[in-house]
Symmetry: C2
Subunit: 251 residues, 2 copies
Amino acid sequence: MSRNILLTLRYDGSGYHGWQLQNNALTVQQKMNEAVNAVFHEDVNVCGCSRTDTGVHANMFCCSFRTNKEIAVERIPDAVNYYLPKDVSVYGARLVPQSFHARFSCIGKEYLYQIYNDRYRNPFFEQRALLYPYYLDETLLNREAQSFLGKHDFSGFCSAGSEVIDRIRTIRSVGVSREDNVVTLRISGDGFLYNMVRIIVGTLISVNEGKIPQGSIPEIIDSRDRLRAGITAPAQGLYLNKVFYNGEDRT
Amino acid sequence: MSRNILLTLRYDGSGYHGWQLQNNALTVQQKMNEAVNAVFHEDVNVCGCSRTDTGVHANMFCCSFRTNKEIAVERIPDAVNYYLPKDVSVYGARLVPQSFHARFSCIGKEYLYQIYNDRYRNPFFEQRALLYPYYLDETLLNREAQSFLGKHDFSGFCSAGSEVIDRIRTIRSVGVSREDNVVTLRISGDGFLYNMVRIIVGTLISVNEGKIPQGSIPEIIDSRDRLRAGITAPAQGLYLNKVFYNGEDRT
């Protein structure tokens, strides 16, 4: 019987048009397929835990594939990394149950959004954070962000073009903190709509700028009106940070 | 009378053959000269606080130049940044006394050396840290590193090819610490010989590996024998982090 194998990886998304295979653009999934097939010599198509947009990064991303080859699981990361470019790196591999599916078995995710809050750009954050030159009050942002906690219909925090019908999601934890010039939003939940984290960040920045009144986020959520929320913050600040699976599937 | 202007900048050194101008290789000084001259339309050659090697980074680097043009000092960083590539960024500019010299007025520097200590490479540290896959004991390294403190003849910690005659330097502070998978050496002193920080790191790693006995660093320093110290650690982990000037010249 074929084995079902789960890989965990990181990638710097700067050079990619997101995860998902595309005909005319370079994606991380394409690079993973090429590397896995170079090792296993089977025509596998790895299945990812989610899509990510162009320029979005991952500190943790999960994908799975089936194989009939008998390569020892603990040898897989080095073998696959050998064929991967330097901006993608596998750091875990393990056997998962036959029923496991990288996307449908996922019970939650955590994202980070990183803002470099300084007057001048920093080469070390180039393509890896939003550069925001005006003062951000992380205490205010953290307080306002608590309004996203819990179960809500997040229709107002979803970009047009999404075909998802059920737009109810539960945010389990959210916080904004600062370390020197870096302000980070950390948010986890059972799932996220298209561009949801980036719209949440855009909305918090609008509150910081006084364009959206303090305390009005609950009302904006309730309105389910995309036009009342803030802009979609740029992709380069966003990192998929954790992917959660249930019980035996836990990563 | 011309003004003497000091710029502070950061750069990701991955794409450069160090700071110092070269005939057939791209350097940071060349990029700075081009940008400053695009703003000031004078044929200036900026004077740097030190050389850095190919691939070495700077969180802080200082350079100075003279100009007869009357551009307001506070407008200089944005003006110069406009002409700089994304991997170099000026974040400070100020008037300094006529006697000020970016290199000769410098009374000390601080360097960081960053090691990504994990079994697998991390795309976000690519070209920005040494990847070291075996366990580093940062408590041991920190204790051993204290032997470098104080005034010593560091001839054993200087690469061949240096023309410097006086090899006595004073280390004012040194420490090794860990944050998750990142082990960082922080060292400051009145000056550093060619490759000195990188040889110090190589030596500490040799102690960690048991190739150099614990407690023997004082003896290795005293021997002034380059062959008794460890290898020169790679450039990509090294960051010039602070540049110190005296009194009114202070940055």
